[in-house]
C-alpha cells in the first residue's frame, strides 16, 4: 500500500480495495517498526487515528464523503492539535497540549483526513537539517548518514520512508522545499496568505506559510485544495477563491516560458545538482517549453535581509514562552526575573536563543533603522526582482538547494547552515509560491528542482510540476530503507 501516492490511495479507498482502518494499521505498523531508526515522529496518535479511520469507513459506507476521506496524514509538530502535544520540537513546549485545533487541522478533518501523529522538526522551525530538535535529529531514509533537511525534516523523512503518504510542513525560508528536495518528494510552499496561519505556531509571521509534502504534484494539489482559503481568524489570509487545483494538471506546456535565474546557477552550486537540474530543464524543452536566462539582481541580499526580518519577528513571537501560563517553567524560581531567565534558558535550544538575540538586537533603539528598516527596503527590491522576471517568463526554475543532503553533524557553523537556503529564502521574502519536485540523484541522495511562479499561481505551478512527473519517474523512486524486512 505504501508505494501508492495519496491520490492513488484515495482512488483505492473509493473503490473499496481496502478500508481506511487497514490502511491506517499498515502505516502505524511501519511507523512502529521503522521510526525508531528514523525519528521522524515526535508523537504518534495511533488510537485517535484508528478511531478516525473507523469513522471514515463508516462515513464512506453511508456515502457522500470528503475528498480526503480515510486518508492518513502527518502534521509537522507546530500545528496546534486539540488534546495532543504540540511541541514545536522544543523542550519549552514538551508539556503543551493545545486546547484548540489549527484552521488547517480543522479543514483536513472536515475533508475526512486523519492524522497519524506529529512530525519532528527543527526547534520552532529554525534550522535546515532537523538537527535542532529537542527530540533528536531525524535521519534521511535515502542515506541514514545524511540529514533530511529542515525545518520540516520529520514530515519529509516520514513521507519518503513510506511511514505516511503525505504530511503538512511549513516554510519560512525553505523549510518545505529544501527537505522535500533532500528526501526526494514533492513539496509546495503556497503564496503568503493562501493558507491560514491560525493555530500554526509562529516563527516569522510575515514569512511563514503552511503547505503540503507528498509524492507527487497531484497529491499536493489534492491537499492544497483542502487547506487553502480565507480564514476570518487570520487577517493576513487572503479573501480569494480557491480553484480546483487538480483541474489544470494535464494542461499542455507548449509555449511555456521558463526563466533560469543566473544567480541560482553560480558559485557554490554542487555540480551533481546542477547537472540534474539541467537535465530536468531539457525534459521541459521536450514538452514544448522555451528557456531563457533571467536575472534576480538582489539575490545576494536575500539571506542578510532574511536574517534580520525573521529573527526580529521571532524574538517578539517567542516572548510568550515565559514560563507563566504554559510550557516549561523552571524549578523553584526565586523571583519573577529568575522565573523568566531560567525558564527560557532551559526551555530553548541554542539556535532559537541565537535568533532571539539577533532579533532583539536588530530591533533595539539605535539599530532599528540600520537593520530592520533597511531589510524591509531590501525585501521590496527582492519582490520587485521577481515581479520584473515574471514580466518576461511564466515560471522560474532552478535548484531547491545548492547541494544534496549533507551528512549529519557536517555543518557546525551557523553561517554555513544559513547558506543552505540561498535559493529558497528570497521566495518567502517576495511572498510568491514555489514547489520542489524530485529531479534525480547525486549518488544515493536525491535532488530537487524548484519551480517558482507569480503570486497565487499555484494552479499553474502544479500543472508544470505534474507534467514533469508524467514525463519522469523520479517521484516514483522509493528508498531501500525498511524494505529488506518487509
Amino acid at each position: 500500500m505504501h508505494d501508492k501516492t495519496l491520490s492513488e490511495l484515495a482512488t483505492a479507498l473509493a473503490a473499496g480495495e481496502f478500508s481506511s482502518r487497514e490502511l491506517t494499521e499498515h502505516y502505524l505498523e511501519r511507523i512502529q517498526r521503522l521510526d525508531g531508526e528514523l525519528n521522524s515522529f515526535i508523537t504518534v496518535t495511533a488510537e485517535q487515528a484508528l478511531a478516525s479511520a473507523d469513522a471514515a469507513d463508516a462515513a464512506r459506507a453511508r456515502g457522500n464523503v470528503g475528498a480526503l476521506n480515510g486518508l492518513p496524514l502527518a502534521l509537522k509538530d507546530l500545528f496546534c492539535t486539540r488534546g495532543v502535544r504540540t511541541s514545536c520540537g522544543s523542550r519549552m513546549l514538551d508539556n503543551f497540549e493545545s486546547p484548540y485545533d489549527a484552521t488547517v487541522v480543522e479543514r483536513l478533518a472536515a475533508a475526512g483526513a486523519l492524522s497519524l501523529g506529529k512530525t519532528n522538526m527543527d526547534e520552532f522551525a529554525m534550522g535546515s537539517s532537523n538537527e535542532n530538535s529537542y527530540y533528536g535529529p531525524v535521519k534521511n531514509p535515502w542515506d541514514l548518514a545524511a540529514v533530511p533537511g529542515g525545518s520540516s525534516g520529520g514530515s519529509a523523512a516520514a513521507v519518503a520512508a513510506g511511514l505516511v503518504p503525505a504530511a503538512l510542513g511549513t516554510d519560512t525560508g525553505g523549510s518545505i522545499r529544501q527537505p522535500a528536495a533532500f528526501c526526494g518528494i514533492t513539496g509546495l510552499k503556497p503564496t503568503y496568505g493562501r493558507v491560514s496561519r491560525y493555530g500554526m505556531v509562529a516563527y516569522a509571521s510575515s514569512l511563514d506559510q503552511a503547505g503540503p509534502m507528498a509524492y507527487s504534484a497531484e497529491d499536493c494539489a489534492l491537499l492544497l485544495e483542502a487547506i487553502a482559503g480565507h480564514d476570518p481568524r487570520d487577517s493576513t489570509s487572503v479573501a480569494r477563491g480557491v480553484p480546483n487545483y487538480r483541474d489544470e494538471l494535464s494542461a499542455s506546456l507548449s509555449g511555456l516560458r521558463i526563466g533560469l535565474p543566473r544567480e541560482y546557477f553560480g558559485e557554490g552550486l554542487d555540480p551533481g545538482v546542477e547537472s540534474a537540474i539541467r537535465e530536468a530543464i531539457k525534459v521541459y524543452e521536450g514538452l514544448g517549453a522555451s528557456v531563457q536566462e533571467v536575472s534576480l539582481p538582489h539575490t545576494d541580499l536575500a539571506i542578510p535581509a532574511y536574517y534580520v526580518i525573521a529573527p526580529a519577528e521571532a524574538s517578539s513571537n517567542l516572548s510568550r514562552f515565559d514560563g507563566v501560563r504554559f510550557g516549561h517553567r523552571c524549578e523553584n524560581p526565586s523571583d519573577l526575573i529568575d522565573l523568566y531567565k531560567r525558564s527560557r534558558a532551559e526551555g530553548f535550544g541554542t539556535e532559537v536563543k541565537r535568533r532571539i538575540l539577533m532579533g532583539t538586537h536588530t530591533l533595539s533603539e539605535g539599530f532599528f533603522d540600520a537593520y530592520y528598516k533597511k531589510a524591509q527596503q531590501v525585501r521590496r527590491l527582492i519582490r520587485q526582482d521577481f515581479l520584473d522576471a515574471f514580466e518576461e517568463v511564466d515560471v522560474l526554475m532552478g535548484p531547491a538547494a545548492p547541494t544534496p543532503a549533507f551528512d549529519l553533524g557536517a555543518k557546525k557553523d551557523p553561517l554555513s547552515m544559513y547558506l543552505q537556503d540561498v535559493y529558497t529564502i528570497a521566495i518567502n521574502l517576495a511572498g510568491i509560491p514555489g514547489i520542489s519536485v524530485p529531479a534525480g540523484f547525486v549518488g544515493r541522495r536525491p535532488t530537487g528542482l524548484q519551480i517558482l511562479g507569480p503570486h497565487f499561481s499555484e494552479q499553474h505551478l502544479l500543472n508544470v510540476a505534474h507534467q514533469f512527473q508524467q514525463a519522469t519517474d523520479w517521484h516514483r523512486r522509493r528508498p531501500a530503507f525498511g524494505e529488506e524486512n518487509s
Partner: protein, 483 residues
C-alpha cells in the same frame, strides 16, 4: 521666583465595544478572574489577532469629535516587554502611524473663559491584564479578563498651565467620549485613567523644564492633587539647588504624594516594530464621511445652542452640557414642560441637590426626566405653587406615585385660586385672631408689612399649602386695611 507649570496628559479611554480589540471575548466588567479570556487573550501558541471594527469606528468618531486629521492609513506596532499580565510579551499598539492625527479640545475655565488644548494624536491599543498581589500567600495571581480590552490613548500637547486646566481638559475629554457613546467614562472601574506629565519652569522662560510622568491616575480629584504635590515638589527641589530627574512616578492617594517608580536610565527599550499579524488599517473617505455625518451634537455645540436658542446663561449652559446624561435629562425635562429656564432651575436645583446628597449619578436618578418634566409643567401652569412642588418632588423621589399629576391629586395639592374660597379662609383667620388684628390695625404702615406674614401663614396652613400665596397676600391686605 515666579514659576510656571507645564502639563501634558495621556488619557487612556476604554472603548465600550462588546468584545475585545483583537478577539471575540467579552469586555464586561467584574466577571470572575480569567473567565473572559479566550485563547487569543491568553496568548496561546498559534493564535492570531483580528481587529474589532467597532474599535476603529469609535476611535475615528473621537477624532472627528476633536476636529482631528484622520490619516488614511494607520498601523499597529508591537511594544515588547515582559510582564506576567502581558500574555504575549508585547502590547499591540500604534507607535508610528496612529489612527487619529492632530486635533484640539476646547476647555472651559472657572472664570467663564475658554482655552484650546491641542491633541498630538490618539492611538488604539490593547489593555493588559491585572496582577493580583493579595490573597495568594506570597505569590502573585494574574487575571487576564482585561487583557485585550480596547483602549484609545489620547495624547495632548503640553498646553495646560495649571492643575485646574488639566482637570478641565480631562472633563472635556470625558464629556466628548460619553457624548459620542464610545466609552462609559467610568473612572472608578478604570474606563478612563491618565498619565500626567508635569514640569515647571521660571515664568517667561521658553524652554520646558525636565518632566516627571505620573502614571495611572484614575480620578479628577487625584489628577488635581497629584499635580499640586508634584509642582510643589519640583519647585522646592530646584529652589534648594537640586534638579528634576526625568522619571516615572506613582501617585499614592492615601499619602497624597507622588513617589519615584523608575528613572529614564531604567526605562525599557520597547523595540517597537510593525505587527506582522495585522494589516495596515486603510480608511476610505466614504467610511469617514459616513461617521462624520452621523456624529451626535458634542458638548461645545450643545453649550452654544443652550445659550443662543434656549436663552440660558453661560453658566447654566456649561453645567447642563457638562455630560451627555445631564444634557439629555435636561432636554427631556424641557421638552415636557416647554420652559427651558424653569427646567434648568429644577435640574440644577432640586434634582442635583438631592442627587448630590445621596451621592447618585443623574443616570440613575429615581425621578425620571419625564416625571420631573410633568412636575415642572404643573409649576409653570400654576396648578401647584412652589411649596407644593417641593412636596411633589419628594414624593416622586420616594416612589409614592407614577407622575406629578397623580401625586397632586392624591395629596390634594392643587393650588386654590378661587377668590371666594380664599376669602372664606381669610375671614375665618381674621375672626379667629382678634388680638393680632387689633395690633395690626394699630401699627404703622412699615410695621404692617412684617406683621402680615403671620396672617398669610395661617391662611396657607388652613389651605394645607394649596392657596395661591400672591392671591392670599393681596386679599389679606385688602381686608385688614379696610377697617
Amino acid at each position: 521666583m515666579q514659576w510656571e507649570t507645564v502639563i501634558g496628559l495621556e488619557v487612556h479611554v476604554q472603548l465600550s465595544t462588546q468584545s475585545k480589540i483583537f478577539s471575540g471575548a467579552s469586555t464586561a466588567f467584574g466577571a470572575e478572574p480569567n473567565t473572559q479570556a479566550c485563547a487569543v487573550d491568553l496568548g496561546l501558541p498559534g493564535v492570531l489577532p483580528v481587529l474589532n471594527e467597532n474599535a476603529v469606528s469609535m476611535a475615528v468618531q473621537f477624532g472627528l469629535g476633536i476636529n482631528a486629521e484622520i490619516p488614511e492609513v494607520s498601523v499597529f506596532d508591537r511594544k515588547n516587554y515582559f510582564y506576567p499580565d502581558l500574555p504575549k510579551g508585547y502590547q499591540t499598539s500604534q507607535m508610528y502611524h496612529p489612527i487619529v492625527g492632530p486635533g484640539e479640545v476646547e476647555i472651559s475655565l472657572e472664570d467663564g473663559s475658554t482655552k484650546r488644548v491641542r491633541v498630538h494624536h490618539a492611538h488604539l491599543e490593547e489593555d493588559a491584564g491585572k496582577s493580583l498581589h493579595e490573597d495568594y500567600h506570597g505569590m502573585t495571581g494574574v487575571d487576564l479578563n482585561r487583557a485585550g480590552t480596547p483602549l484609545l490613548e489620547i495624547v495632548s500637547e503640553p498646553d495646560m498651565r495649571s492643575a485646574k486646566e488639566a482637570v478641565a481638559y480631562l472633563r472635556a475629554i470625558h464629556a466628548i467620549v460619553t457624548y459620542l457613546g464610545i466609552s462609559d467614562g467610568n473612572m472608578a472601574e478604570g474606563s478612563m485613567r491618565c498619565d500626567v506629565n508635569v514640569s515647571v519652569r521660571p515664568a517667561g522662560q521658553a524652554a520646558f523644564g525636565t518632566r516627571a510622568e505620573i502614571k495611572n491616575v484614575n480620578s479628577f480629584r487625584f489628577v488635581e492633587r497629584a499635580i499640586a504635590f508634584e509642582v510643589e515638589r519640583q519647585i522646592e527641589l530646584i529652589e534648594d539647588g537640586g534638579q528634576v530627574t526625568q522619571e516615572t512616578r506613582l501617585y499614592d492617594p492615601e499619602a497624597d504624594e507622588t513617589r519615584s517608580m523608575r528613572t529614564k536610565e531604567e526605562a525599557n527599550d520597547y523595540r517597537y516594530f510593525p505587527c506582522p499579524d495585522l494589516l495596515p488599517v486603510v480608511l476610505d473617505k466614504a467610511y469617514v464621511d459616513h461617521l462624520r455625518d452621523n456624529l451626535p451634537e458634542l458638548p461645545a455645540e450643545k453649550r452654544a445652542r443652550f445659550e443662543s436658542e434656549l436663552g440660558l446663561s453661560a453658566y447654566d449652559a456649561g453645567v447642563l452640557s457638562s455630560s451627555r446624561a445631564m444634557a439629555d435629562y435636561f432636554e427631556a425635562v424641557k421638552d415636557v414642560c416647554g420652559d427651558a429656564k424653569l427646567a434648568a432651575n429644577w435640574v440644577q436645583g432640586e434634582l442635583s441637590g438631592q442627587l448630590n446628597r445621596e451621592g447618585r449619578d443623574i443616570a440613575d436618578s429615581p425621578v425620571t426626566a419625564a416625571q420631573l418634566g410633568g412636575l415642572v409643567l404643573r409649576v409653570r401652569d400654576e396648578t401647584i405653587n412652589g411649596k407644593a412642588a417641593k412636596q411633589v418632588f419628594a414624593a416622586l423621589w420616594n416612589g409614592e406615585g407614577a407622575s406629578a399629576d397623580e401625586i397632586i391629586e392624591a395629596k390634594g395639592l392643587r393650588q386654590v385660586t378661587d377668590t371666594g374660597a380664599i376669602e372664606a379662609m381669610i375671614d375665618q383667620v381674621i375672626a379667629d385672631s382678634p388680638v393680632q388684628v387689633a395690633q395690626y390695625r394699630e401699627a404703622s404702615e412699615d410695621k404692617r408689612g412684617k406683621m402680615i406674614g403671620y396672617f398669610v401663614g395661617q391662611v396657607m396652613k388652613a389651605s394645607r399649602g394649596t392657596a395661591n400665596p400672591q392671591q392670599v397676600n393681596a386679599l389679606l391686605k385688602q381686608k385688614l386695611d379696610r377697617a
